[in-house]
Symmetry: C2
Subunit: 114 residues, 2 copies
Amino acid sequence: MKSTEPACQYELKAARDAMEVIQGKWRVPIVISLTYGKKRFGEIHRDIPDISPKMLSQELKALEENKLITRTLYDSMPVTVEYALTPLGMSLRELLNELRNWGKYFRNEIIGQL
Amino acid sequence: MKSTEPACQYELKAARDAMEVIQGKWRVPIVISLTYGKKRFGEIHRDIPDISPKMLSQELKALEENKLITRTLYDSMPVTVEYALTPLGMSLRELLNELRNWGKYFRNEIIGQL
DNA sequence: CCGAATCCTGTTTGATACTG
DNA sequence: CAGTATCAAACAGGATTCGG
């Protein structure tokens, strides 16, 4: 307890836990896309046209490992796969709202004056 | 307006604006450290011991360019520098709260079961 | 004490092409 | 449709040294 800010240390750790999960260029967009309902690979891709199939596949896998989304394979012909948010993934809703709100605020306040 | 999710596109952009500002390993910790009040370089460094002076300097500069913090030079001997949040930086408060809350939730729900 | 300058490395991301 | 494979580029981050 000699640190000047013991509380600070604990708060920092929690924030970094969260950042690790949503960090990167694509995870937030993917999760937001899925807040509109379950989607297939190609549908997510249409929401995020810039992403390469490789990155989409890779990030979906990471999100699944963190239990934020589920991957369901329908063994039809041709093969169909659906991605959907888990309850944990849905629990990001408030955080993503704040993220968007602040992003809009920042854009209005700053971007353009830079 | 032919996209399946026109609203989605707009929301994605706002969220990514926000992510760009707070992304990276160190920006959120730095801003959180400064929510406890203005601090000097070495004080921030004590809150975030793992960061190298180079990264701290570099990230402080980036945050200053985005108008989230101010850098004040006191021409004393030896030289003293103080960093503080701007109103825009303080406006991150709610977002950072959500980040920490979700981080704690995630840790309780998931980490350990992985 | 508060950095700047340089060099270096590994991870992340992307482009392109290909497969069941 | 839903990815994989391969290769290259870009970037983040670290180590070290130096200066006011």
